[in-house]
């Protein structure tokens, strides 16, 4: 199978190039893109990419696969490229490339940290757990599962254009995860910190984030909920 990989080594290359590598893939089963990368790396160990759990829960190997952001470890090549077609692997769009398929995620993490992604509740905790009804807990479904792979934010043009000001779908999903938590008491302050023209409102609802999320989460909807909460508070 022909694999085209974005190569850039800052110590050798002026500019990134697309390198074509022919990888022998077993014909009897459908490999994941990560398996193909591992095969390519066995031949050329200088190819750099991140990976860890290889089962889609750690979020390390987000990359742009044939034009679509996704996790290499749970994207089958049959779905990514189709039979006989070339696999094209590029780093996540819009972020500085450290090397090959490895991007600098520090800006992405900064936006995540901006939303104070932790439970705030200054009341002294009870001797046991804080109680939460199953209905209240259900509100966190579709939010807490985020793996911070950055597939969504780096598929979002608003995040490309204003990576320092727009929090981006991943960060906003996390913001809503805490706004929606019945145990969190800082909603007002959280909302106040989001009511500027950029942090939330740069979302144009284009749904690229929803289209690529490997966990099937829906940041667009979460952002809509944040807007509704801002509206309730602000009017």
């Amino acid at each position: 199978m022909l694999v085209s990989i974005y190569r850039y080594n800052p110590e050798q290359d002026e500019k990134p190039v697309m390198q074509n590598i022919d990888v022998d893939v077993p014909a009897d089963r459908d490999l994941m893109v990560l398996d193909v990368l591992e095969l390519a790396k066995a031949r050329d160990p200088s190819i750099a990419y991140r990976r860890s759990c290889r089962e889609g829960v750690c979020g390390s190997d987000g990359m742009n696969i044939n034009g679509v952001n996704g996790l290499a470890c749970i994207t089958p090549i049959s779905k990514a490229a189709g039979p006989g077609r070339k696999l094209v692997l590029r780093p996540l769009p819009g972020l500085p490339v450290i090397r090959d398929l490895v991007v600098d995620l520090s800006g992405f993490y900064r936006q995540f940290e901006k939303v104070k992604p932790y439970l705030i509740n200054d009341a002294p905790p009870p001797a046991i757990e804080r109680l939460q009804s199953p209905e209240d807990r259900e509100k966190l479904d579709g939010l807490y599962e985020c793996i911070l792979c950055a597939c969504c934010s780096t598929a979002c043009p608003s995040f490309w254009w204003n990576p320092d000001k727009f929090i981006g779908p991943a960060g906003l999903l996390q913001a809503y995860r805490f706004l929606a938590d019945s145990r969190d008491t800082a909603s007002a302050a959280r909302l106040a910190a989001l009511d500027d023209p950029f942090s939330v409102f740069r979302c144009r609802g284009i749904m690229n984030c929803v289209a690529v999320c490997p966990k099937g989460l829906n940041p667009t909807r979460a952002i809509g909920h944040i807007r509704s909460m801002l509206l309730q508070q602000g009017t």
């Binding site: 500019k15 742009n64 034009g67 094209v88 144009r204 609802g205 929803v210 667009t220």
Partner: protein, 149 residues
């Protein structure tokens, strides 16, 4: 030292440490992969980008529309002049373009308004609505053509 103050100092210290630890080679001039043609755009994105483009077109075309409106409302003669202008193939094509942009902007905008009230936020509904925007706009463009010519 009170507790708050201590915590603040600690925070400042830890930021400095973080920074210190990340000092290394200067990280300027890293390339960014942002070749817009290498990216596959879902239909929802295309519809949204077209909405933006049509908005910009309309902003510029407003001058034309205001001019025509002004002319047509000035006098009987102005009205004729405006009507004659519209009769020329080039101008009527231009007007058709503007009307199409307007229709598209209205239809796609209505989808955004619906999404604001929580309709069409799931991926499936979003794709469906975006496709519907395209279909309705095409029908609108054809009708506008019939109406103009």
């Amino acid at each position: 030292m009170n507790c708050d103050c201590h915590a603040r100092l600690l925070r400042i210290y830890s930021r400095r440490l973080r920074k210190q630890a990340s000092i290394g080679k200067v990280k300027t001039s890293r390339p960014i992969n942002l070749n817009l043609f290498s990216i596959k755009w879902p239909v929802t994105a295309l519809v949204s980008i077209a909405h933006r483009v049509s908005g910009i077109l309309l902003f510029l075309a407003t001058a034309l529309l205001l001019y025509l409106l002004d002319l047509s409302l000035q006098s009987e003669a102005g009205f004729r002049q405006a009507a004659d202008l519209l009769a020329s193939p080039a101008a009527s094509f231009l007007i058709w373009l503007v009307v199409v942009a307007l229709l598209y902007h209205l239809i796609a905008g209505s989808r955004h308004l619906l999404m604001d009230i929580g309709i069409g936020e799931s991926w499936r509904a979003g794709k469906f609505a975006a496709t519907a925007v395209i279909v309705f706009s095409l029908i609108g463009a054809i009708l506008a053509g019939f109406w103009l010519w």
